[in-house]
Point group: C2
Chain length 366, copies 2
């Protein structure tokens, strides 16, 4: 196989087929309710005239792009609505790599598993800068690796899998490094609504033609299956991004876009705050149990994940499967996120049974 | 710009901004009703538990893939549900081109506008075989152009823009040519439900590891905006197709997939037949008016389109805009479909005002 298929699907299938009850902490699917206005949007859509079942504008329905542009403080012409953050990152890396300005893509280690595959598929060569399991990136390390061969620097903040939230100074430095080497900073901010620390800083806060910001409503509205995301491109890259989007997908799915628009318009800040609060509580109870298990772990400042390391139990696929069979808890092998994470396991806190899982881990490793 | 953006959007925008009433015959959006079961599927989905708002399987929800596999008589493992036929064609061409088995993509002239852009984006070199404006392909011409440099032969039957439906002998020959040169026949059959002639033959009728069949529900269920399509891949290519799909889009939009599943299960054959009959009537009345206008034209055996040529009025973009302003009818410039079509205009018969448009054309050119 020429692309590396993420391990997620393998592990989820293994957990689903296990002979016992398993708490699934594999994938980053929110387990909380989407906003009621989203459901209502789908109901309204079902009764629309037939013409609204036809192609939306390729770059997304106008009202949704306008809503995104207003919230992010950018010109609407720079917004391309995509099939989730997945497509937005693909379009962003394609733009960075197709400028005849280098073929290297700087990624972090730990890394979100899809980035290396996307970079390679697009003809890029991944280069890794170590962030450690706390996920904080030292801009000096990025600067040392950057060169005129650098096409893109791809980061994710709040970070999957480490939970790191980059301070404003790091974001500013990353933009400066991209500018110094005619590279593009691709900042995937899909977890921006799950900044648990209050320290999140969007790359949009630094004005530059050398950065693309990607995002989606998959996590913030608890609808990973709807596939509505977006990219915000510099003016000189947006037309080519739209063209590739059109040539690959023609357009995104219109009922999903309409439902998201309704949800954005009508959902109160308290919806997002309640979900953050739920996550904070889960972080506390899960890490308390990890303490009891004598594990090392990361305490996330944002996103959904905890990295944990158990003595003598490296996070191999074999050990992940053993943990499913023997402890009834499914996590992800650390190796899926790069070399640094090999001894670690990643647990996604998006299950109402996170505390139960933690108790099982504490008992198993005690 | 490095990709050629299809002209559709430019022409549609021009028509929308015109100072007068314009009959829009630009794009292939059905103007008839989607099945009621599709609307009902969206309503049901709106009330599902939150877990069904999360990621579907990357290759599509299982029941939908099973329904497609049963209808097409193929193993379900070969079916990848895509974001419309657009993505299915993109995945198919990528597979053909990434086998180290040539970099040329044989296309027809006239050609569906997106194919050359997709081929080029994927590093392929388009080569054209002339099909004439009647759209019928002489397999001997394809054979003459094919070589070991041929990665793919991409065809569309029933054909946009010519309305040609390839006979079974042509389909069989195309598969044989692909096999002889280790190429992949990509057969886009998105208009299969609009075979007005009863002569359509799917490439699936010829068993081979050298063909990929693409399709979508955009036209058959009148939902171009939902973006649900599929590719049927040979066993040795399907895993890489799934991987690219995952790396680009992660998955398709789940509410749209569920609504399509409901529509497939509950829609009677009479729905499809009524839409074909409507098209047949429009073909008759539109071509009658073209006779009165003294135009040359193609009478489609399938799909939605009529190519027409008016004396002294070649199908340039300039003339398309003039026709919008002076006659109140918007068509597509022939040049969008390749050299052969340059003198021609394409009119999509997917408006209840097709007859009115024809009368306007007859009056304008009389």
């Amino acid at each position: 196989m020429e692309y590396e298929t993420p391990l997620f699907f393998h592990v989820m299938a293994y957990a689903a087929e296990a002979d016992r009850d398993v708490v699934d902490m594999v994938s980053g699917n929110p387990d909380w309710e989407p906003p009621e206005a989203l459901r209502q949007g789908l109901r309204e859509y079902a009764d629309f005239d037939a013409d609204r079942f036809q192609y939306p504008p390729s770059e997304g329905i106008r009202e949704l792009r306008a809503e995104i542009a207003a919230r992010r403080g950018v010109d609407v012409e720079r917004v391309v609505v995509t099939n989730g953050a997945g497509e937005a990152n693909y379009l962003a890396m394609a733009r960075a790599l197709e400028r005849d300005a280098g073929s290297e893509v700087i990624l972090t280690d730990p890394v979100y598993s899809y980035y290396p595959g996307k970079a390679t598929m697009l003809g890029g060569t991944p280069r890794y800068v170590s962030a450690g399991t706390d996920g904080q990136l030292d801009p000096a390390d990025v600067r040392a690796l950057a060169s005129d061969e650098t096409a893109a620097i791809v980061v994710n903040t709040p970070n999957n899998p480490t939970g790191a939230v980059y301070p404003e100074s790091t974001v500013r430095e990353l933009v400066a490094i991209a500018e110094a080497h005619d590279a593009i900073l691709v900042a995937d901010e899909v977890y921006d609504h799950y900044d648990l620390s209050g320290t999140f800083s969007s790359a949009l806060s630094v004005d530059s033609d050398h950065r693309i910001v990607t995002n989606a409503f998959s996590k913030s509205l608890a609808i990973t299956g709807f596939r509505v995301g977006y990219g915000i491109f510099p003016p000189h890259l947006v037309e080519d991004a739209k063209s590739r989007h059109m040539l690959v997908n023609v357009a995104g799915s219109r009922p999903a876009q309409y439902a998201v628009l309704c949800a954005l318009r009508e959902t109160e800040p308290s919806y997002y705050e309640a979900n953050r609060e739920l996550l904070r509580e889960r972080v506390d109870s899960f890490t308390d149990a990890l303490d009891r298990a004598g594990a090392a772990y990361t305490r996330p400042d944002g996103a959904f994940y905890v990295l944990a390391r158990f003595d003598g139990y490296p996070g191999t696929l074999e050990n992940v499967e053993r943990l499913i069979d023997e402890a009834g808890v499914a996590g992800m092998p650390g190796a899926a996120f790069g070399e640094t994470c090999e001894p670690w396991l990643r647990f996604a806190l998006v299950t109402p049974r996170a505390e139960e899982a933690a108790d099982r881990l504490a008992a198993y490793f005690a």
